[in-house]
């Protein structure tokens, strides 16, 4: 096991910068997830750590040793690829053992490790089959086994579950998580799926445009996103956003948008008239009976729990069983609310939306989180 550190790593292809000043330490035994959309640079970072790409500048260290210019085989890292990359002309046993044979590991030791990995992964009866004769999940396990038998310093996973169907993906996600906890091998896991990131990662790195947007434990990213990108990227269904502006009166600041307005307290040190965005997660809005006859009666009232209340009308209800997603037109915004699946409001019903004041996020025009609205009970009122 080992720690991994990236020191100001930058990667350019021609004039295009793919990764910009990436600076991060992965702790020994940690499972770190790199998450981002396509073109965010997450796979490039992984490939640089694997030695398959050379950084344009910066240093990569594994266990304190500078490996920046080392070939992949010299780095003692093992990688699981998105398409598994099993050698089609070799049996499962040969696929598992090839890396060890190339490192001149003793035959008996190879056999021991192959049996150990195949036992853990449930591949013991498939050792003499070729990849063509395996299902997607089995191929995925062979790819993991190939990394395991190497007993490397670091595991790398490059979107390993993208080619599996939903049920198998959930199952393999659990298996990868429990395997990593069992082996405690330092792991860097790349995915575009934020559910995978949230469920697997000890820490998550959110990337966009080759830059780190935020690093933190899953719940930190969820509850205190550093910017609007992270807020919108982490969480399913996505956070609701309302664009508006700050109005200051008597030293107190209010959020004003399409006629909706509510006080956000003194803590937001923003100028009068500054455009801002309010973000709130679908489960942090409660749906209640409307106090108003029409949805365009938009004065935000203060609800029982201290948060603002907005009148709205239900546009769409997506029933998922345990919960329902209710789309509501409110104060010129379309908001999604997650409610209990047993009693969702009717389509077209007039409702009052109550926002949990301690869960409201505020973002500046450049996307940065303006203040921690969770602190202080008077931040929104």
């Amino acid at each position: 096991m080992a720690s991994v550190s990236f020191e100001h790593v930058t990667k350019r292809f021609g004039t295009t910068s793919v990764v910009e000043d990436f600076d991060l330490v992965v702790e020994d035994g940690e499972l770190l997830v790199l998450v981002g959309g396509s073109g965010s640079g997450k796979s490039t970072i992984l490939r640089m750590l694997a030695g398959l790409e050379q950084p344009s500048s910066g240093t990569i260290r594994i266990d304190g040793h500078d490996v920046t210019s080392q070939a992949p085989r010299a780095r003692d890292v093992a990688m699981v690829f998105q398409d598994y990359a099993l050698y089609p002309h070799m049996t499962v046993r040969e696929n598992l053992s090839l890396g060890l044979r190339l490192r001149n590991v003793d035959k008996a030791e190879i056999e021991r490790r192959v049996l150990w990995a195949s036992g853990i992964l449930g591949l013991a009866t498939l050792l003499d089959r070729k990849p063509k004769a395996l299902s997607g999940g089995q191929r995925q396990r062979v790819a993991m086994g190939r990394a395991m038998v190497r007993e490397p310093l670091v595991f790398l996973f490059d979107e390993p579950l993208s080619n599996l169907d939903a049920a198998l993906r959930a199952q393999m996600r659990l298996e990868i998580g429990s395997l990593q906890r069992r082996l405690r091998t330092t792991t860097v896991y790349v995915t575009h799926d934020q559910v995978e990131a949230m469920t697997l990662g000890d820490r998550i790195v959110v990337l966009a445009g080759g830059r780190i947007q935020q690093v933190g434990r899953p719940i930190e990213l969820y509850r205190a996103p550093a910017n609007r990108f992270v807020a919108g990227f982490i969480g399913t269904p996505a956070m609701n956003f309302m664009d508006g502006a700050i109005a200051r009166e008597d030293g107190r600041a209010s959020f004003v948008s399409h006629g909706v307005s509510w006080t956000i307290g003194d803590s937001a040190a923003v100028q009068d008239g500054t455009p801002v965005t309010v973000g709130i997660r679908p489960e942090d809005i409660r749906v209640g009976a409307s106090h108003h006859a029409a949805p365009d009666a938009v004065d935000a009232k203060r609800s029982e729990d201290g948060g603002p209340s907005i009148a709205g009308r239900v546009l769409l209800v997506e029933r998922l069983g345990a919960s329902s997603h209710v789309h509501v037109e409110a104060g010129g915004h379309r908001l999604m609310v997650t409610v209990n699946g047993d009693s969702p409001p009717e389509l077209g019903a007039d409702v009052a939306l109550r926002l949990r004041h301690d869960r409201v996020h505020l973002f500046a025009p450049d996307g940065a989180a303006l203040c921690d609205t969770r602190s202080g009970d008077d931040s929104i009122g």
């Binding site: 490939r47 694997a50 030695g51 398959l52 070939a71 992949p72 085989r73 890292v77 093992a78 990688m79 690829f81 998105q82 398409d83 598994y84 990359a85 050698y87 089609p88 002309h89 090839l98 890396g99 190339l102 490192r103 190939r146």
Partner: protein, 271 residues
């Protein structure tokens, strides 16, 4: 009515097939006919004989020519497969300065007809003092642009992750080529092998230019000199010597036809 159409179709196809196969069968049977029968169109000799083969073997060093042809064609085919796939792999999978220029240059070589380079190449061989050597027959054919481009195209279809995976498993590029890429590229390698072998086996013009010693002549060259030079003496003997040329190619094709048809049928479709 439908049945009649089908019968007509098969009949037409059978006639077409016959026009291809009949001359070959006639040639084969004529090698076993005495001179008096060679003029007939019959496929079965009335008085079968090996005289034509005996005469041919006695009049010219066909055994030696067969060995020369085998040596030259096998050397060239092996070299084209090994060197060609190494070049193709580099062009498909390695990043180096000048790669686009190399790609363009290889393509350009295809556009130059072989006859155009014949005289400069001949002059070169003379300067090197290689006239009447195996080197003159083999060295100019060690690299083949068509083979390189064909293999490169095939190698590009092999997923990059497979090569990355092999690199991470600890393989060097040459080992990746021969233990991972080669087994996956068997159809492409087979088609390159067949075309290279047949091209080399049938080559007449170049050996005629650079080899004069009968002991170094390849089979088609000796056949040309023998038949055109009047050495054969009769049509039967000429045909018998042509048979010696054809049989090895037919045998090679029988071994490789599975790959040959596979690669023809599967061209452009990822396996």
């Amino acid at each position: 009515m439908r049945r009649l159409g089908r019968v007509t179709l098969y009949l037409l196809l059978a006639i077409a097939a016959l026009t291809f196969i009949y001359p070959f069968l006639w040639m084969t049977s004529s090698t076993f006919k005495p001179p008096i029968e060679v003029g007939t169109l019959s496929l079965i000799p009335e008085h079968p004989t090996f005289d034509n083969y005996r005469t041919m073997w006695a009049r010219a060093p066909f055994g030696r020519a067969l060995f020369n042809s085998m040596l030259v064609a096998t050397s060239i085919t092996s070299a084209v497969l090994v060197l060609g796939s190494m070049t193709a792999y580099a062009m498909a999978r390695l990043h180096f300065r000048g790669r686009p220029v190399l790609n363009a240059a290889t393509m350009l070589v295809l556009l130059v007809p072989g006859q155009l380079t014949l005289i400069p190449l001949y002059t070169f061989i003379v300067q090197l003092g290689w006239i009447d050597t195996y080197a003159a027959l083999i060295v100019p054919y060690l690299f083949n642009a068509t083979a390189i481009l064909l293999l490169r195209q095939f190698f590009l279809q092999i997923p990059q992750s497979l090569i990355d995976s092999a690199r991470m498993d600890g393989m060097g590029e040459l080992r990746i080529l021969f233990t991972i890429v080669w087994p996956l590229a068997r159809p492409a390698l087979a088609i390159v092998a067949i075309f290279t072998f047949m091209g080399s086996w049938n080559e007449v013009l170049w050996p005629l230019l650079v080899v004069r010693d009968a002991q170094l002549m390849t089979l088609p060259q000796l056949l040309t000199v023998f038949a055109l030079g009047g050495g054969a003496g009769s049509v039967g003997v000429s045909l018998a010597s042509a048979m010696v040329l054809v049989v090895p190619v037919v045998i090679a094709y029988m071994f490789l036809q599975r790959y040959f048809i596979e690669s023809m049928a599967g061209a452009g479709i990822k396996g």
